[in-house]
Symmetry: C2
Subunit: 437 residues, 2 copies
């Protein structure tokens, strides 16, 4: 009877970490959240389940297939697949109560029923910020985004990274100047693959699209220019309005990025970046880890003209970025970019190991430590001392406080540094936070 | 064409707060999480979606009806309805890798398709801790739980509260001594309603259950004794093994609770508490806010013999507590227990208001503040000064830093205290964190 156990499995495509790894995951999440707050973004927390009519107002094609959609009672429900559509709903719904520009962050799980494969998750965290304007939004907000990316990835300390920026108006205007304005979307899709498939394949694909060879050369030169890009753009002397607007925007963004403290070697203008999504209309961002060029962007975003057109007539331009935290964590882990000293972190700074089953003094010591702001636990189980030390070691707890009869009688504690093995006896009244640094 | 907008609505039964309220919600969540860490609990984060076979291994009846269950491809999926079943799965699955006692916390959303009504949510946060032993678990862990409850609700500062504790063995042994051991569950269910329906109704229901009147008197005296409970229990002279075990446990828990620093007027033994769930086997806890006796328990839990019997033959006893954060927040809001000074908190401590469209100096000031650890934002929009101040006021940002040409030329800042209206001009190089306290 006891033998018909259910196998305790977790679904494929769902990340579930061991506690030690979860501590590191949460540390990264905290760095991201604290950085978002440092820039004054406000928290919101929208439901994971939404009415399908609301959530899928815009969706279609590939996205819709990946939605977890189901009914309960009379309700047609879906799990959110990003944090942008819920933001659009939220802003449209609460327009009258919000102050604009509305600076919001949201960190939460989203769901896509993708075919599970390495590094692809069906449940994953997105960490988003957006600034939403009412009718208008200053271009300076675009320049602030890279400075937030810079802050976060500097703090995360996973090696050198590069923030690539472009402007969809530059691309759009350039293609208009070639008389290819009706095929911008198709051409951008091909150009977007440049990093992946190389120049020759892009050229070939453009030929297949019946782009004339003169234009192909210009397009390839355009997207391949990596140095002195602004001078190059100016030298093109394109008078197309969209292009001129894009040039002015990217100049302004570049200028303010430096004021925001982004070092010049951490960003570059990359005219080959288009971003797949069709709603970006101005500045676009990607962030790549220099040591891992093949993993793609770890933080992307951009400027859009109209956040919530499916819900409201209000014009709500915005700019935002998103970090796919679950995928980022997977990559860091896969490429051993998580430092050992991070992985050896514990929640508890100290563990109290009572040598007898009389716990009152041990509990007193624990309470004292906690009141000093030190995370601490007591090992209450009746096991051999070696087992207790093993537990402390496995948890990577840096200090063990051993409480025997001597300590109880003399009101002292024996503090053992678990890394060096050093042990010191001190009076309980002399115990300070500095002993646990 | 632009007029077929979708109404941006949020489903009933789903809490979605305005940013100001979300800040307060998050503050409460942080206090709970930090307190759990203070006691050395380790984080885990299990998926919201689980295989229905795994999640519903134990469930049945009322619970199963409330599950969001659906299929995607060949998978029969369900959304978790608590954090205990996922914990059982997690511990059974990772048994070999975990250290015991395993102290874990998890804070996350769970889902129940209840009929939406005031204060009932279909998506709500649970904040759980559990200590899981391997084969055995010291009773001292039971005594630690109330001290964590005490820490949290003291810090939350929502008024006086009372932690009520009981022990299922006391109840069980007592009923056995009356020869009612086969009807414990039914009788406990009736007794559990004492607070809600009163003594007379409980007596009547027990008569309907054909309990003899002598036993009814004993039962009612038992559950109604609120003072000197341990003396009362000893005076009963019940020799039943279960009862004796329960008495010894509750004495030990009471003793250590005091060592853990829970003041005596913050807890009491309440023999009427049984907790509805059928898996508690020892200590049980409830927490009530003294000023709001009718809202029921805001933090409950207890001791169970076997966490994961549906998944493994290993015997895994545990003790834990859970805070239903979404419901708690609803109650605090409904009864105006959230303090005004909490509600007037902003994320940004300072807002920089540039008087011209030249932002370089303003950005420099913002970067300086952020590097000092101060959350700050810049208002970049081209609006009248009054509008800028309005924005700062609506966001409750305590300090506005006004940057005009004078400030730029003299490398100074004008810092305005938004509450007092006081304004001071100081050199940028003299700006310190103390000015924003």
């Amino acid at each position: 009877m006891k033998n018909d156990k259910v196998e305790p499995r977790t679904l494929p495509g769902f990340m579930e970490l061991m506690p030690q790894d979860q501590i590191e995951f949460d540390r990264i999440k905290s760095i991201i959240e604290d950085s978002y707050k440092k820039y004054g973004f406000l928290p919101i927390d929208t439901p994971i389940i939404e009415d399908s009519n609301v959530l899928l107002a815009k969706a279609g094609g590939e996205t819709e297939k990946q939605i977890y959609r189901f009914s309960k009672g009379d309700n047609d429900l879906s799990l959110r697949f990003d944090l942008t559509v819920p933001l659009a709903k939220y802003v449209a719904k609460n327009y009258g109560q919000l102050s604009f520009p509305f600076r919001r962050y949201q960190i939460g799980k989203v769901y896509r029923a993708e075919r599970p494969q390495k590094g692809r998750y069906r449940e994953f965290y997105q960490c988003d910020i957006d600034v939403i304007g009412d009718e208008t939004l200053s271009i300076t907000n675009d320049a602030e985004m890279p400075s937030i990316i810079y802050q976060i990835f500097s703090k995360l300390d996973f090696g050198k990274f590069t923030i690539r920026i472009n402007n969809r108006k530059l691309l759009g205007g350039f293609f208009e100047s070639l008389g290819l304005e009706n095929r911008i979307e198709d051409i951008l899709k091909i150009v977007d693959k440049l990093d992946k498939i190389g120049i020759d394949n892009v050229k070939e694909m453009l030929q297949d699209e019946k782009v004339d060879s003169d234009s192909i050369e210009k397009i390839v030169q355009f997207v391949s220019t990596k140095e002195n890009v602004i001078q190059f753009l100016e030298s093109l002397n394109i008078s197309n309005d969209t292009f001129v607007k894009g040039l002015s925007e990217i100049k302004e963004v570049s200028k303010y990025m430096i004021a925001f403290g982004v070092p010049e070697n951490y960003f570059r203008i990359d005219l080959s970046i288009a971003r797949g999504l069709d709603y970006y209309t101005g500045t676009v961002f990607e962030t790549t880890l220099d040591d891992l060029p093949n993993i793609g962007s770890v933080c992307s975003g951009g400027r859009y003209d109209n956040l919530a057109e499916y819900y409201t007539d209000k014009k709500l331009p915005g700019v935002g970025i998103s970090i796919g935290l679950t995928r980022l964590y997977y990559i860091l882990n896969e490429y051993n970019l998580i430092k050992n000293d991070s992985l050896s972190k514990s929640v508890s700074k100290a563990i109290i190991l009572p040598m007898s089953q009389d716990f009152e003094y041990s509990i007193k010591v624990a309470t004292l430590l906690r009141n000093m702001g030190i995370n601490a636990e007591v090992y209450f189980e009746d096991k051999a001392f070696k087992k207790k030390l093993n537990y402390a070691n496995k948890q990577n707890i840096p200090y063990a406080i051993i409480i025997g009869d001597d300590e109880i009688n003399s009101e002292t504690v024996a503090i053992k540094n678990m890394q060096t093995g050093e042990q010191q006896n001190i009076k309980l009244s002399d115990m300070t936070i500095d002993l646990f640094k």
